[in-house]
Symmetry: C2
Subunit: 253 residues, 2 copies
Amino acid sequence: MASQEKAAPLTAAGAAERLTSSSKGTGRRLRGAVAHYLGTAIVSGRIAPGERLTGEVANSEALDVSRSAYREAVQVLTAKGLVESRPKAGTRVLPRSRWNMLDPAVLAWAFSGEPDLDFVRDLFELRVVVEPNAARLAAARRDKADLKAMKEALAQMRRFTLATEAGRAADRDFHDALLQATHNSALVALSASIGAAVNWTTQFKQRARALPRDPLPDHVRVYDAIAAGDGDAASDAMRVLVELALEDTRSSM
Amino acid sequence: MASQEKAAPLTAAGAAERLTSSSKGTGRRLRGAVAHYLGTAIVSGRIAPGERLTGEVANSEALDVSRSAYREAVQVLTAKGLVESRPKAGTRVLPRSRWNMLDPAVLAWAFSGEPDLDFVRDLFELRVVVEPNAARLAAARRDKADLKAMKEALAQMRRFTLATEAGRAADRDFHDALLQATHNSALVALSASIGAAVNWTTQFKQRARALPRDPLPDHVRVYDAIAAGDGDAASDAMRVLVELALEDTRSSM
DNA sequence: GCGGCGCTATTTAGTCCGACATATTGGGAG
DNA sequence: CTCCCAATATGTCGGACTAAATAGCGCCGC
């Protein structure tokens, strides 16, 4: 990435433009843009852990936003464990171990630039751990509504492929519905993170080249096992699915 | 200042006192207290999902804090997925499925009142899914530093029992060191959540009655297996540990 | 007269500004 | 070496103004 330009304390010049350009779309607020800017700067490593970022007054002026908006953005980062600020000491970046990596926003920031291969591997490892067991639970607890949601997601995946955004959304919906079917709130919470991971990695697979393998049969196998209430089969099918997905992703990066 | 008392919504009366009492200790900032107050109110269900909470001006006056501080607190809640706010529409509580339940702060709020039995069960289910596999990974990847950290944590657990805060901290340190030993950043991120769960549930076990069973041997078994590099044994030992812990917790609630 | 449609009016969050309070740190006085 | 003071950066405050989204009103068409 462009690690060259570091001129002013955090790119005073192009800062405003960068913010506006990434926040223009109806929806994102100003502080959201600032949070995104700072968040990506930290997650990408442009501001290293332990480092102190510029004072509020100076930095908010540099970004051309009010101190209030800037502070609210920093609060968001604080809430996600990226930074910690104390009077006089300033605001400093916390060690990576304190970051809430599972937070959807943090994941989005992590994937907004060049994705860290090791981190992708870690995410898939988490999926390998969680999703097969989730499938097992889902096979035992799913109700009609759960099955319906999963079935519809599969239909959408079939209609649009993973090449389209709608298809990827359906993929996410499938995994989300599966996690929902466990009726476990902790796993459902993980769903947001895993869904994000699925989405970003799939996108990279697509970006790299046409998908060599059709992922649909794998999904169908998982669905059938869950519908049949066969926990072991569901777990196995899901493990195969995730491992194949990892393989595809790895070969395309 | 507050020379007049306002009959505001959201418990205007005891609000200020509650804030001060819970924020007095040197460290917690004012907005942190507000966030804690609102967070517990939401997580505990006092403000139901879909409900609109009082406007910023009114509510900040009721809590006797500036609008800035109040807003920064709301930003924290927004960052954790508890609420969403739009102009004119107001700030409304999001459905539970959108909450970042794994966020340490949210977990703390969830356990600050009466713990939801179902949620505790869900957390243990997550532990059963994650920790045995983590132990397996740790057995394969741990280095000397990891083993040292785990060993020290065990020593601390032996010195102080789980009846003391120091002992519980050691327990958390052990699980944390184990997750660290996987060298998987996603699992490390889960460590904070799992650690919180371990902590709170242990505390409840203690509160209920003297612990009938000594948890140390279980931990030692896990450590030995990891030190030996035996993944299967580590996984099995950890599963036993978590399941026994669940049993203890359940019987004491 | 009735129904739908667009415009304005209002409400509420979002942003901005400038001042003061508080806490921490680092250096200087005793 | 200790203690206190002052410099500094975050924290809190209050009020003003902007922007966005809803709801209600009035206009237009049927």
